[in-house]
């Protein structure tokens, strides 16, 4: 005897978004932890050393947070004015930061007071960074100059004034201690070589540059500014590789994930976008406010995003272990004491095992369909939870009822309340291309059945009115779309060159056949 075959809920692919490995990877972050800072967060930097603390520059302070702490484990507050661009040194022991008054301070991570102060800039210093040898600091300032400082003696080594506007972006090379890249509001990105003391490469971004970023190989350079993200190939002399326009406001920050070097960009439009290696957007994080700064921890363990409203949101990666713990806890069966009988029985070799018959678990609507209770099955499928969160289940039950030829019976004899439910469901889903066919049929049958009694209920009548309006609009829209399609078709046919189909092919065909 065959068992009852439950109705199969068909997985219908949604158009548009595709689920890929990458989206799954980026989806695998926990919900963000929000930390309130005193002002707009302008810079976040992760320490290269484990446990990967991160420095957050906001207002007149720099806070250092541990990977999982919500309270700062250290804070530097000796700024008279707004602090900018706090960055770690390569060994994670020193921190350099600029400030609004043009002073650059150098901190020891364990200390409180600045070790060195570099004076010389006349205006605010938004960007500071160590060069990769660790003994020099480079800074970019609003006074249009870019200066290099010696850490041990705290003297200015050189000053470069090639930019014609504020310098708001800076990236030192990790491979060569004499190279660094700057981006400025004069729409240019320049590569400076300390050995020659001048810029060796200039690229036109076309918009005020907010952020520059070097790939680890340092063959590619990313610059963001305006709504554009541009990738430059340095080995080809600064040729533009690709220009991305996925944000609709200024892109303020960019960073690279350490797994697979995926590019992430944050923008004032409150989105963080993740690109794959062919620069297609694969994932999107939404934030509450405009994003000013962003950083990702080594191994992508955490993504920290700083926003204009002073909220730091940190997303931690979800691990397989956590998930397993959750599911294992949920799946625990009845308690051990009750069902201990026969648990540790080991069958001997020549024992004949009689397995317990497996009980078939059916959903409620399947049970009702099995016993031919069609109206009840439809009621079950139209329950609020199913109707709202799993409309495909409802539609599958409707299709199954129609296949059995009992849809009319199931829809008949309903009161105002359940009829309202059905009509609301129709209103919501009748245009979903996945569902429209069976739902139109339901609409037809409902009209047939209740034609005589509609006027008795104003609620139902109103719903029907709405349904009619919506359907009319949809029909118009479809017609317009068809017209457009027709126009496009004629355009396409006129574009494709006419081929003489009969002249050439036989020869090609001959050779094919002979080869075969």
């Amino acid at each position: 005897m065959a068992s009852f075959k439950p109705t199969k809920v068909q997985f219908l692919p949604k158009l548009g978004e595709k689920v890929t490995e990458e989206t799954l990877y980026w989806k695998n972050y926990k919900s963000p932890v929000q930390i309130k800072e005193f002002g707009a967060i302008t810079k976040i930097d992760f320490s290269p050393l484990p446990p990967h603390n991160y420095a957050v520059t906001a207002s007149t302070r720099i806070h250092i947070y541990g990977p999982h702490s919500q309270e700062p484990i250290r804070s530097f507050t000796r700024f008279r004015d707004t602090a900018y661009g706090g960055r770690f040194r390569g060994d994670g022991k020193l921190l350099v930061a600029g400030s609004e008054e043009g002073l650059i301070r150098l901190f020891d991570i364990s200390g409180r007071v600045a070790l060195r102060q570099f004076k010389g800039h006349s205006k605010a210093v938004h960007m500071t960074s160590f060069l990769s040898d660790g003994f020099r600091v480079v800074s970019g300032s609003d006074d249009l100059s870019c200066r290099v400082w010696d850490v041990p003696s705290a003297v200015e080594l050189s000053s470069l004034t090639e930019h014609t506007d504020y310098i708001r972006a800076l990236a030192p090379s990790k491979l060569n201690p004499d190279l660094f890249v700057t981006g400025s509001y004069d729409h240019t990105v320049k590569v400076f070589d300390m050995r020659s003391g001048s810029s060796v490469m200039t690229m036109q971004h076309g918009h005020p540059v907010e952020c520059v970023l070097l790939y680890p190989s340092e063959a590619l350079l990313v610059s963001t500014g305006g709504r554009y993200v541009k990738v430059w190939d340095l080995l080809k002399g600064g040729q533009e590789l690709v220009s991305l326009k996925n944000h609709h406001k200024t892109v303020t920050c960019a960073c690279l994930s350490s797994v697979g070097n995926k590019l992430l960009t944050g923008s004032l439009d409150r989105h963080v976008k993740v690109y794959n290696s062919s620069y297609k957007v694969v994932h999107n994080f939404d934030c509450d406010a405009s994003i000013l700064s962003m950083a990702i921890a080594p191994d992508d363990e955490a993504l920290a995003v700083g926003m204009t409203n002073g909220v730091l949101s940190v997303r931690h990666r979800r691990h397989q272990k956590d998930k397993e713990m959750l599911t294992s806890r949920r799946r625990r069966g009845p308690s051990y004491q009750v069902f201990v009988k026969g648990k540790n029985f080991v069958p001997r070799q020549d024992d004949f095992l009689v397995s317990k018959p497996v009980k078939q678990y059916l959903r409620k609507y399947d049970k009702q369909l099995k016993s031919f209770e069609v109206s009840k099955a439809l009621d079950t499928a139209l329950q609020t939870w199913t109707r709202t969160s799993k409309p495909d289940v409802t539609v599958v039950v409707i299709i199954e009822l129609n296949r059995r030829g009992t849809l009319k019976n199931a829809l008949a004899g309903r009161n105002e309340e359940s009829l309202t439910k059905i009509l609301n469901f129709l209103l919501k889903h009748i245009f979903d291309p996945r569902f429209s066919r069976p739902l139109l049929m339901v609409g037809d049958i409902v009209l047939d059945l209740y034609q005589q009694v509609f006027h008795q209920s104003p609620v139902v009548e109103r719903l029907l009115q709405r349904l009619m309006e919506v359907l009319g609009r949809e029909a118009e829209l479809q017609q317009e779309l068809l017209q457009v399609l027709g126009i496009l078709d004629t355009l396409f046919t006129s574009l494709t060159p006419r081929k003489e189909a009969l002249a050439a092919p036989p020869v090609a065909q001959e050779s094919q056949l002979q080869a075969a």
Binding site: M1, P6, T20, R403, A516
Partner: protein, 806 residues
């Protein structure tokens, strides 16, 4: 060996086993059922087909156990004979020539007569029964509308709205009639009858699903009946259990219902048996029930309502798909149960398994429009299967689904890979897989004027192991409806016929290469030549034209005027078979595309139109040199006629077998060698006993024994002692003498028993054998074993002896 070849049509396989109710033998070990012109015997435990009782020359129309001897069965056939069989050994015992048939149908007359046949008692083989007494001249053609009452006192039969009861003693018929319909729209026509075995009660089933229990029908006026109603459609069958405690009923719902007799409405159900129930029967001890279903199936059910066996024949409901061969198992694939594809082994005439395509609960309801598999195609390696299921006759509410199934090596079956719900906007007409080894491609043509090519989707974003199918190309030609599609042998060309025009496409670039046209007439069938003839394209049109194009020159090579209903190329050779239907009979032509001359013609294959045929590759190649049968060397041609019987073209070889006595010494032979010798002596006493086979080395015997498949070995208990003794160091001398003496003894006994058996009637065989045991109580264990074995053997040679006697 002398060989002579001849090609002829052989009816093979797929016979119906659900025509008449099956019978369970008294010991519940066998199920007997009428199947075509033979009676098939199945085992209830293993569900295996044991043997068939062959001898009738026409359809067997009824079988019944011999009430006097529970090892014998009567069968009646449309050839006018009733035969008595010993069904365990399959021996024909008696033949009775009857002019009309009990429970049988006389098709030559318009009205069906019920006659009582008195079977004369005589010991002769062929008896002509002359005593006939007509009981009624108007009975229903359905044999389930006739039933014998308690202890054979009366017989009840129904026709339309009338129930008749004939009492043998009084020689009188009482009849009761019902109104055709009443106010509630009931349909009262009788569909089946069963009589209570101990009580005066007749149960009748009706067309509207009612069951009536008639009582007190000895009086014409004062009869009473009670009505019970559960079935929603006609009751097909009714059956009382042997004690009469329960009544079993079945109908189209495929639910076996057990009503408690006398307990009102108390009933039990056994649902979803598959196929509507046609007959129910019970074993004589009431422990087993047996139902036969419309899908050519017999289900054996225990009395606790548990299914314990299913005997499945070839499912022969409507066939929509083409006949196909699964390239892996070489099984024939066609529509099976509703919504299933069945895999059927033609070689063994055995149903292998059903593949659930629709995967939905089947509702057994008359007139309900349900999904049915209408198209199916295999790719060349048998790795992919494409199916189309369809619902809805009108094009407005047509629903169809295209499904692609991948073969799973681990589970050894097909697993659903892709479901395409709206592949086309209208009905799919044909589909085919490309025949190349590297890339698989599916092409479907539909009534919406488009053909689509489907490929395994190589989606760059989803880096998953699973690959799904997606549409690769949509093609059309002047908005005409495409009818057929076919790939060339190397898959470099695709031919799609659009009514009168055949278009040739290149599947690599999807470029229209050329068009071929031979008006008038719409192209009906299309195929490329195979192997050396791959440059030819063959097509048939509705205007009786068979055309062959040469694709190198793009010109018509030849054409002839012949009405072809089915064109079938052989994938293993250049041959193409064409079935032509002209003036009410079908002819077969086999030809090679390179010459317009047929290789082989067979006139008047059958009288119906043939739409489905298939070439089945042979297991081993034949090497016939005869020109007319050469085309059957690599594969066999099977075709399906409209009344759903398989036919096969076989090359019948008249081979004179030179029987070789020197059979290879196998372990099996060694173990049973002694017994063989005995038999030979019994058969031909004058023949000198063959030499004892050489005892080979023990180790060789053991290895051979271990390599022999288990199912051909005798029972372990038989083997054991001999096997152990073969391991011992042989002690020749005295013991050998002893054993030979024992042999002599047993031989004597055998001869003795043989005489006895000849003397007594064959019905008493068993008793005779029993008596042997009684006569010789002093036999040693070894001898007893020998005797047992002798008893188990086939006694068919006895029949020969009996025949030869004057």
């Amino acid at each position: 060996m002398v060989e002579k070849s001849d090609v002829r049509v052989v009816r093979c396989g797929g016979s119906k086993i659900n025509l008449r109710p099956p019978i369970i033998s008294t010991d519940s070990r066998f199920v007997l059922c009428a199947s075509g012109d033979s009676v098939k015997v199945y085992s209830t435990r293993t569900e295996e087909w044991l043997h068939s009782l062959q001898g009738h020359t026409n359809q067997v129309t009824g079988i019944a156990l011999n009430p006097a001897n529970h090892l014998q069965v009567y069968s009646c056939s449309a050839d006018g004979t009733v035969k008595l069989w010993d069904f365990i050994d399959g021996i024909l015992i008696k033949v009775q020539l009857v002019l009309f048939f009990l429970h049988a149908v006389d098709k030559s007359k318009i009205c069906f007569q019920l006659v009582a046949v008195h079977l004369p008692k005589s010991a002769e083989q062929e008896v002509e029964a002359k005593e006939l007494s007509a009981v009624s001249s108007r009975i229903s053609p359905n044999p389930s509308c006739t039933a014998f009452g308690r202890e054979g006192q009366y017989i009840a039969f129904a026709r339309h709205l009338q129930l008749n009861v004939y009492f043998f003693r009084k020689q009188k018929t009482y009849s009761f009639s019902l109104k055709a319909t009443d106010k509630k729209g009931a349909k009262n026509a009788f569909t089946c009858i069963a009589c209570h075995p101990a009580d005066d009660c007749i149960a009748t089933g009706h067309e509207d699903g009612k069951i009536r229990l008639w009582r007190n029908f000895i009086h014409t006026k004062e009869y009473t009946y009670s009505t019970q109603h559960w079935h929603h459609n006609a009751v097909n069958t009714l059956c009382f259990t042997p004690e009469g405690t329960n009544l079993l009923s079945g109908g189209i719902e495929s639910v076996l219902v057990q009503w408690q007799y006398g307990a009102g409405n108390r009933k039990e159900f056994l649902p979803r048996l598959g196929g509507s129930i046609l007959h129910v029967s019970t074993s004589s001890d009431g422990q087993l029930f047996c139902t036969s279903h419309s899908d050519n199936k017999i289900t054996v059910i225990e009395s606790s309502f548990k299914v314990c066996g299913v005997i499945q024949g070839l499912v022969k409901d409507a066939v929509f798909t083409d006949l196909m061969i699964d390239p892996r198992s070489k099984a024939l694939v066609l529509n099976g149960k509703p919504g299933h594809l069945q895999f059927y082994s033609l070689l063994r005439d055995k149903h292998l398994y059903n593949l659930d395509i629709v995967q939905q609960e089947y509702i057994y309801e008359a007139g309900l429009d349900q999904f049915e598999v209408v198209k199916a195609a295999f790719d060349i390696k048998g790795y992919w299967l494409a199916t189309v299921e369809e619902r809805g006759q009108k094009s407005s509410d047509l629903e169809f689904v295209l499904k692609l199934w991948a073969y799973d090596e681990r589970t050894q079956s097909f697993v659903l890979n892709t479901t395409i719900t709206a592949a086309h906007t209208d009905r799919i007409i044909s589909m085919c897989f490309s025949s190349s080894e590297e890339t698989t491609m599916l092409v479907t043509t539909a009534e919406d004027g488009q053909f689509k090519a489907w490929c395994q989707g190589a989606d760059a974003d989803t880096q998953q192991d699973q690959s799904f199918w997606s549409c690769d190309f949509v093609g059309s030609y002047h908005n005409l409806t495409p009818t057929n599609c076919s790939f060339s042998a190397d898959s470099s060309l695709l031919a799609v016929s659009f009514q009168e025009v055949i278009t040739i496409w290149s599947p690599d670039t999807w470029e229209l290469l050329t068009t071929l046209c031979q008006p008038p007439g719409v192209v009906r069938d299309l195929c490329f030549g195979q192997l050396s003839c791959s440059k030819y394209l063959i097509a048939t049109t509705t205007r009786n034209l068979l055309c062959c194009w040469n694709l190198l020159t793009c010109a018509l090579e030849w054409s002839t005027s012949v009405e072809v209903s089915k064109l079938q190329p052989d994938p293993l050779s250049e041959n193409v078979a064409a079935f032509s239907y002209q003036s009410k009979h079908t002819d077969l032509f086999v030809f090679k595309p390179n010459e317009p001359r047929p290789l082989f013609t067979h006139k008047n294959v059958c009288s119906e139109k043939i739409h489905r045929a298939v070439f089945v590759p042979r297991e081993e190649l034949l090497n016939n040199c005869d020109e007319s049968s050469q085309w059957l060397n690599r594969s066999q041609l099977y075709f399906l006629t409209q009344n759903m019987v398989f036919h096969n073209f076989t090359c019948v070889s008249l081979v004179q077998l030179v029987i070789d006595d020197s059979i290879a010494v196998t372990p099996f032979y060694l173990l049973l060698g002694k017994h063989r010798q005995q038999q030979q002596k019994l058969n031909t006493p004058s023949h000198p006993a063959a030499d004892k086979p050489q005892q080979p080395q023990g180790s060789v015997t053991i290895t051979e024994l271990l390599h022999t498949p288990a199912h051909v070995l005798p029972a372990a208990s038989v083997l054991c002692s001999m096997f152990v003794s073969s391991l011992l160091i042989s002690n020749t001398g005295v013991r050998e003498m002893e054993s030979s003496e024992q042999e002599m003894n047993s031989e004597k006994e055998e001869e003795h028993s043989e005489e006895e058996m000849e003397a007594c009637d064959s019905q008493q065989e068993l008793r005779a054998q029993g008596s042997v045991d009684e006569v010789t109580p002093k036999l040693s264990k070894a001898q007893e074993r020998e005797l047992k074995r002798v008893r188990k053997t086939d006694f068919s040679w006895m029949a020969g002896l009996i025949d030869s006697k004057p």
